[in-house]
Symmetry: C2
Subunit: 510 residues, 2 copies
């Protein structure tokens, strides 16, 4: 450090020339970015929805090391346009029907801007009381909108927390019940703990269980069937649990899903929870995608039985206009969670915590540091209001219904499972393909053809959709929910799908 | 769903009235927020740095449930001003000297805006190629700036990833080596795995090890001493490891710290890594705070020996102008990491992944979903340039040196440990207190007095600083690094500290 010489005057001169938070420079550049993004949304349909670049494209366009000297924002934004945008898959495009939506909104964006602007680190109450208190308040607001049982709300002895993703929410709850159980049975029995999901449960469960140290051999996958619409069969779960007990294992954790990834199936919560209760199994309900729909009374029956589960989560960044990341987790017994995840280091000691008057959200999650995520949820709720939010969800559901109707009119296609929310699963019907060639008597060839169709559609760049494989069948998923999607986009998408199907069926090398 | 009736016209009318991503409404409201935040930075010194509200203050100010109808942004921003700002602890204030800085910047903010605006979910390459490729590129850029050994860069067979926080980075690396070891020794020996840190290691290590299923009994805390400046003594580590082996335990993971939380001590990497190597222990270097300083050549000697560690992380959101959250993790062997954390579900299958041509960052972290965090680091690097970033870091270090000089001139205070970076640890000297009252012969009373001083200063709202306790001694931490801090803020802060010390020493009820 011998090279450092204190010279406040020189340092101040330098600092004034570069002040990284100079309010007027912030204002000037901030406006530029707002305009840049507004123009981006205006022009978003010009870009191929799914990026068409080749692996390694960017390395060829950028220097090998960071620049020594500052570059103006104008130049950087040119580079964003020229180098980044072609490499972006446009999740905000109205023609994005892939995966599940990543629903952006002006309100969500503004909330995130405020959060980034304040840039507080809300690990405990005192580090920024508003961050903690607003989070508890909006989690109760949201819980009420969903008609979650009172026991999940702070006002009912439970409570909610904002996490990044479902995987983190699952990990936190698994660790909670793992610790409870290990205290009872002793650590030497760790490798007997069993986690249950179905073959439709999101793979995050397996990853979370694995990270928590559960033996991968003890990850039970309950098979589902088409007859049961790919939901977890309570009887199969019961048998699996009994079998584990017979083998000396210890059933620990069950994940039930409200809206599975492949087909948006809904596991029957009530009977599953009843079985779990009998054996002291913690039930987490993963409603990552479809949970948001439950703000509409007509979907709330799917929550029937959730009062007997232990935790419930949904991703507001999927279908609730809240931009990534915003996973809402509610638990019935916060003290169990904090018992597993709390830390009390000297450097964070403070009166409010010691008097037990406050929530310290670091004890509700994996990490110490946390952003002021509640602001974006608060802005979404206030800017749109409950009535409009319900109607927005309904408009997506209606568009999916409309799309389903279009498919039903074209006998070359089949709906694979009944639509529940705003996602439609379909494929080119094997009956039609069989008429084209006898090779399509084999399911594998039918799958290949449908995969080829998806690939052909996506490389057009006009729309983007993705697939699933359930019970050996390749299905095409059409998920509506991008905030800019209108009916006419759905109609055009359907035309694109038909055109590519035509090309493959009648002109291509089937 | 019987209540749903498809009527595209009505739905479209409704949608047009509320379109949550209407570009012109986005533009109008976006500009408002930019102005709101620019004004906030302009006026930030008007607010008490540490929030002075009482627990539960917000509940009294807001309704019990979300509004049914939309509220205009103007009203919401009024509420932010009236209800939120008093509850915010102003981490961006130039008078914030608490914890470690949460260094915001215009460039970091703009990068985050772009990321939120695009709102892509970059779990794998195809989901948004630019998000993955830019991340790899800036991680190599940053690694080169730090002069990290080539083996940590993609160009040298290693590689970097952006995570949320250090705790997540630690958890990922612990799980990686845990799995490696369990494959060798069998899961029945899980409870023999041992993790090592010192009494100065961040408590995130203990939490991460706990989440990964390491027996809390097997968390070894190597004691440090003032004589060793609170660094981990290689000899003590060696003895602890030998002892564990003697007892039949299996040494697994060591966390060495570059810049501890309490005193910014730097563990001696070279000898620690040598011991670890002998016993096959994974070494993670936690440089959360001080790592950023290593972009300056005069600090790079602290990295000496890091080539023998396995992973290295720093928080760009702490002292690298990148806003929360942005933890940079480099590993020498990415394949070990992905072996532990990869998942390959059908719904994400794609050609690029199958041809092994690309990075899928979901396999480098806990969660599936991930934001486009690389944009903010890229904007910071390009907007300021390496030379200015070094000088910004140096200006903070110089200010800390200046503050140290001020303390040295006032014999009532003592510097507790030599300053290394931009944080100064000090306290009212026990020698001075002893002259005031004989009760100060007891260390505990000296501690209490210093704690009282901190409390008195913080309740003034003029500046905010926090404390640490090392080896039984309560110390006051003065951490410089808020982006708006100038020399004159340091001078004023010193005056505030002196005034409160005077009041307590000479007018108060000592």
């Amino acid at each position: 450090m011998g090279t450092l010489n204190i010279n406040p005057e020189i340092d101040d001169q330098f600092f004034n020339s570069i002040n990284p938070l100079d309010p007027e420079e912030f204002r000037r550049q901030g406006h530029k970015i707002v305009n840049f993004l507004a123009d981006y949304y205006q022009n978003i349909e010009q870009y191929p929805v799914c990026s068409q670049v080749n692996p390694g494209y960017l390395q060829k366009l950028v220097p090998n090391s960071a620049p020594n000297h500052p570059e103006p924002l104008e130049k950087i934004l040119e580079d964003v346009k020229r180098d980044m945008i072609p490499g972006i898959t446009h999740w905000q495009s109205p023609n994005f029907f892939a995966y599940f939506p990543s629903s952006g909104s002006t309100a969500g964006f503004l909330g995130e801007m405020l959060s980034v602007g304040f840039n507080v680190v809300g690990f405990n109450w005192i580090s920024s009381p508003a961050a903690t208190e607003l989070e508890s308040i909006v989690m109760d607001w949201f819980g009420k909108m969903l008609n979650l049982p009172h026991c999940y709300l702070f006002s009912g002895g439970g409570g909610g927390v904002l996490q990044g993703t479902t995987c983190e929410a699952m990990l936190c709850t698994i660790v909670t019940v793992r610790d409870q159980m290990l205290r009872k049975i002793g650590r030497e029995n760790f490798c007997k703990l069993v986690v249950y999901g179905s073959d439709q449960t999101h793979f995050s469960l397996k990853k979370a269980a694995h990270i928590a140290g559960i033996d991968p051999e003890n990850f039970r996958v309950i098979p589902t069937t088409k007859a049961n619409e790919y939901t977890m069969c309570p009887k199969s779960l019961h048998l699996a649990v009994l079998n584990d007990i017979k083998e000396g294992n210890i059933p620990l954790f069950l994940c039930a899903t409200l809206g599975t990834t492949s087909t948006t199936s809904v596991d029957p919560l009530r009977p599953l929870c009843e079985i779990a209760k009998t054996f002291g199994i913690w039930v987490h309900v993963d409603a990552a995608y479809a949970g948001s729909a439950c703000i509409c009374p007509e979907f709330q029956h799917f929550l029937d039985g959730v009062e007997n589960a232990n935790s419930f989560s949904l991703n507001a960044h999927k279908w609730f206009f809240s931009t990534l990341d915003c996973c809402c987790l509610w638990v019935k017994d916060p003290s169990a969670l904090t018992k597993a995840l709390s830390t009390n280091p000297e450097c964070l000691r403070n009166k409010a915590t010691e008097l037990n008057q406050v929530i310290d959200y670091k004890d509700w999650q994996i990490a110490l540091s946390r952003r002021f995520r509640a602001l974006k949820l608060w802005l979404v709720l206030r800017s749109y209001g409950v009535t409009n939010l319900r109607n927005l969800i309904r408009s997506h559901v209606n568009m999916a219904k409309h799309f389903e109707g279009l498919i039903a009119m074209d006998t070359r296609f089949e709906i694979f499972v009944p639509r529940k929310f705003a996602m439609v699963c379909f494929r080119i019907s094997p009956l039609v393909l069989c008429r084209v060639s006898t090779k399509f008597d084999h399911e594998e060839e039918v799958n290949k053809f449908n995969a080829k169709l998806v690939e052909s559609i996506n490389s057009s760049g006009k729309i983007y959709l993705t697939h699933g494989v359930v019970g050996g069948t390749y299905i095409i998923r059409f998920a509506i929910g991008a905030s800019l999607t209108h009916y006419w986009h759905v109609d055009i998408a359907w035309k694109v799908i038909q055109d590519h199907a035509n090309a493959l069926l009648y002109q291509g090398s089937v």
